[in-house]
Symmetry: D2
Subunit: 338 residues, 4 copies
């Protein structure tokens, strides 16, 4: 950690800072410049991270050097993680996992129809929302446990793994009873109560990036889950907020590269939410595969215009095989399969 003192900071102020560092068991390196003093705290930064140096008199800036996400980070785990989403469905390796299905689980036979069609074209995971985080309290809030049951039936029939969002810490157990993968939505990325709860469960977690979260916040959210014991976390880039509303969100392609540079976790891309309209799903998927994602999660529905939510960004079920056909040569071009 590097602490830069203000011009004119006096010896007493410098002493307060250095004492705090030494009390925490780190060594102090002092550089007195012509105009300003710079203090280095050498050793394990975790021991000084919570000291409020910025609040001490005479301190101008405080710059951490070490990464605070020890479990998610690559320093102690340099190789990329590969783990199973369900038996026979590893993520993080050569094969790019595809996940698809409707935004909301719907009554009737739709989940089964979707699952069968997706299975046929090589999709490995069925998505569907039983608990829906809707911007308006008056919108459809999801089918709840009845929806989970419909998903489980579709799995039993097709062998697809299941992913669904969990919003309430009280639902974690219930959700784990039915599905294979728990999704944390973008709006809950810093719902620390929920992160801790899924960290105690024994199912992989798909952690969506917050609407405008920094990379560090995203990786720290993964750290929250992992610190409770659950190490099977996937990061999911789904677009961030920006100033141009031509697309619903701004797809941050380089987030995949940054996540792979700084963590060992698999990275999934969600082109449906990133673009917010059907026509952007294909181009975003192409860029995602080329830049190195480990998975894609794509909203699909037999009739998007009748979907209970997110219809505009949902592709038709019969478009899925064509999309995968377009993506395959790109995957091969970067040494992967899909």
């Amino acid at each position: 950690m590097i602490i830069v003192m203000k011009r004119g900071a006096d010896d007493a102020q410098i002493g307060t800072v250095t004492k705090a560092i030494e009390d925490a068991g780190l060594k102090v390196h002092l550089s007195k410049g012509e105009t300003q003093t710079v203090i280095g705290a050498v050793g394990n930064e975790a021991a000084v991270r919570s000291i409020p140096f910025e609040a001490m008199n005479g301190v101008e800036t405080v710059t951490p050097i070490q990464k605070p996400y020890q479990l998610a980070g690559k320093e102690l785990h340099p190789e990329p993680s590969v783990f199973d989403l369900a038996p026979g469905i590893p993520i993080g390796g050569k094969h790019i996992v595809t996940m698809s299905g409707p935004c909301s689980v719907e009554p009737g036979g739709i989940m089964m129809e979707v699952a069968k069609a997706l299975k046929q074209c090589g999709v490995q995971v069925l998505r569907g929302g039983a608990f829906k985080p809707r911007t308006s309290p008056y919108d459809f809030q999801g089918m709840g446990e009845d929806g989970l049951k419909l998903m489980a039936e579709a799995r039993d029939e097709t062998g697809l793994a299941l992913v669904t969002e969990v919003m309430d810490p009280r639902d974690v157990e219930l959700v784990c009873r039915y599905v294979d993968i728990m999704q944390i939505g973008a709006r809950n990325m810093q719902n620390f109560t929920l992160l801790k709860e899924v960290g105690l469960a024994d199912k992989p977690v798909l952690l969506k990036r917050g609407l405008s979260s920094t990379y560090k916040e995203w990786f720290m959210a993964a750290e929250y889950v992992m610190s409770q014991g659950n190490r099977r976390v996937m990061l999911c880039e789904r677009g961030i907020r920006s100033y141009d509303q031509t697309t619903r969100n701004l797809f941050d392609a380089v987030a995949v590269s940054v996540a792979k540079d700084q963590t060992h976790l698999p990275v999934v891309v969600d082109p449906s939410h990133a673009g917010g309209a059907r026509k952007w799903v294909e181009p975003i998927s192409k860029a995602a595969v080329a830049i190195g994602c480990d998975g894609l999660i794509i909203e699909s529905h037999p009739e998007p215009a009748k979907a209970l939510s997110d219809g505009a960004q949902t592709i038709a079920l019969d478009q899925v095989p064509g999309l995968l056909k377009i993506l395959r040569p790109i995957a091969e071009a970067v040494g992967r399969t899909i």
Copy 2:
């Protein structure tokens, strides 16, 4: 609602849209332009809001006209709301309510010391965090119920009202047993599970704006709470994310004006989080009072450099009277007291 069709949209596509509008009980106004057709849906927009027009073939853009926040909005409630935070402490009227105290509740006699000092200079509400949403799982997570007890003792002694953050829907009942006002933190602004839970409780809610939430999302979060029955919601501007990290967040002064233009709810400003450093607390507070806030929530501590969290943005307890002295003439200049 205005639906603009793409160039070349055919009659069948236009018909699908108009049928959906009419089926929902609204009237259709059709404008066939030289190049594009524009369809107006006339009537109560709530009935068509969840129809996925964007997913229909031939549709280019969909623009809502009516505000979706009926309970928070001014259309049905044009006068500003005034309600009691605790007996004798109304918010939304002429007097600007001040709330202050440390970021985290701390053990020992500090809460009592703070409460007595704040009471003396006219502060009306004591803040303190018993459950802390920390970016790192390794940081201090708050004292929990023990902290709430320390706060309650301070209230019993001084008569200050109490505000504290609630993060877990399972804690709402507990928190309500001890404090007067529940705070929803910025990271939980779209934690809909939590919003619904506090909406069922009988205590006022201080709803912080999300890190980069739009005005509409903020007002819809208030609507979530209100739709459950709890109408005592305060909006709290606490700075949004921006590209310059000189300040921790970007204080959006005009958010106060927009909130007052579009809702009837009282608006509180949090200069501590908005600026993220002690030196910005005074200027932000001055702007907030001048632009019309109904309350200020300011972090203070006897010794900020020893605070358990947020020390850098916390002012010293003995700076509070001076700050209020500076703010009083500004409040008077805009017809208020503080």
Copy 3:
């Protein structure tokens, strides 16, 4: 154009709006809703675009329907443009054009060395800055005409085309005497004086997107150039400003797709500025090729650590062949060559 009136707007206010529309030669379609009146202006929107409807009493919102960029847009020119950057170097077709070279032109034989090496590995355009837009007035400002001469010598020897930035409208003639393509930098994207001047010249223009310009502003900047007569404009995505400074800018991959959806102009990607560090050049280039760019402009230098500017984001000259080798199969996978 759709004009939504406020609740309670009276007939006189509505009349003022409709009269202005009719006076401009357009037809009025009026929808009186239960609470609000909506006015459609049907016809050629160009005639009403500069009328300040928002300033009229009773007006709530004004929404244009037609695109204001007639020359850049696809409505009148649905096919993608293909044009020559120099004889035998078309852009916009099947082949993706690569442009490379140092940020700043440097004295000595470096430009010649770079040009020869780039020529060998298939690069078609040599880049180099003779006039440098530096954030600090104390930084190296470029070699000026002497730099242009060094570039011209390198072209004469190798046959590469030349691209360089022009910053001053008074330099346009000079720059055109030496190089093949004029670059407008991101900071000058809305320097309308300069845009008009390059619009009068007879060389292609590489128009970089502004630091946080909207798509519409970008396309309108192209329109400025084109409105003066010069139709050979390339759009260049080079990253936009965002809140996470891990990368210098935020690469907006989808900007390529949006530009191709709404204009007929070729789109170039600049991975060097988008990422701001050498290690992001490869992943951004991969995503750019996969998503459909027509060109790449990449900073390279024999010894980046000795470059006069932008060393951190410059790749070593001997890395260029390896990068192109990685990109070729991706280009093929999307039906292109590079």
Copy 4:
């Protein structure tokens, strides 16, 4: 300057960095931590600022300590600057200068009418655009020199000082012949050619902040002007780009405080562009005065709905006295006059 080396950086890499520092005449302070080495460059940072340390092998991050804006900064000029905009019109002192007038200069007697009315209510500077930076090439581009003449006549009659935007470096001399203050628009904040040109002129400069420029970029733009000799620069906050388009831009109130914390230059606020609609002019002006601005520049027009540009954000001329009346007690509350 602090240079943090990557984990595993070897002695040769460290040596390259330290040699470069020493060659530039600064001293090296080396801290070898457990995992990473930190190198401090002690002395006048200006000498190392252009060395591309980031491009050297083994370097992770480079953090400057000293401010690069020596002329604009407070380090060498701790007292706030006060200077005359025209004889008898100082800015930067106790009195807050008001500037007003239409967005565009218009033909006929309007400038004279506006000037007389503004003079009467205490406004000191007349604004008007003769050269207009319009997003569309098809919009009204300004009256040019004829407009300047109309402004000059209004000054001769009323004694108001004049401010107008200059967009073209070739127009600086012409503009200086007619007006007292040159305005650099937001879109030209990093038009370095133009900045240098106005830096050579002998009239004060009103430097608007770029659409999304950082504080440092803004202060460096001032440094560009000042480095040419012209020290009379005013900074102007006019709102920045954000993700919520309810207001045209996002008014950054704290920019005033940051500018005063880090520079000695007077700071002006433009509530018209910051809010983009008439109704936000009053609240923004109130916040601006309370937070410490030295001037306000407000668009006004006898009939905003007929203004040639920016009508929606222009207040009616007869609203100006009322606005000033509201602002006066706030100014007094913070020890100023207006």
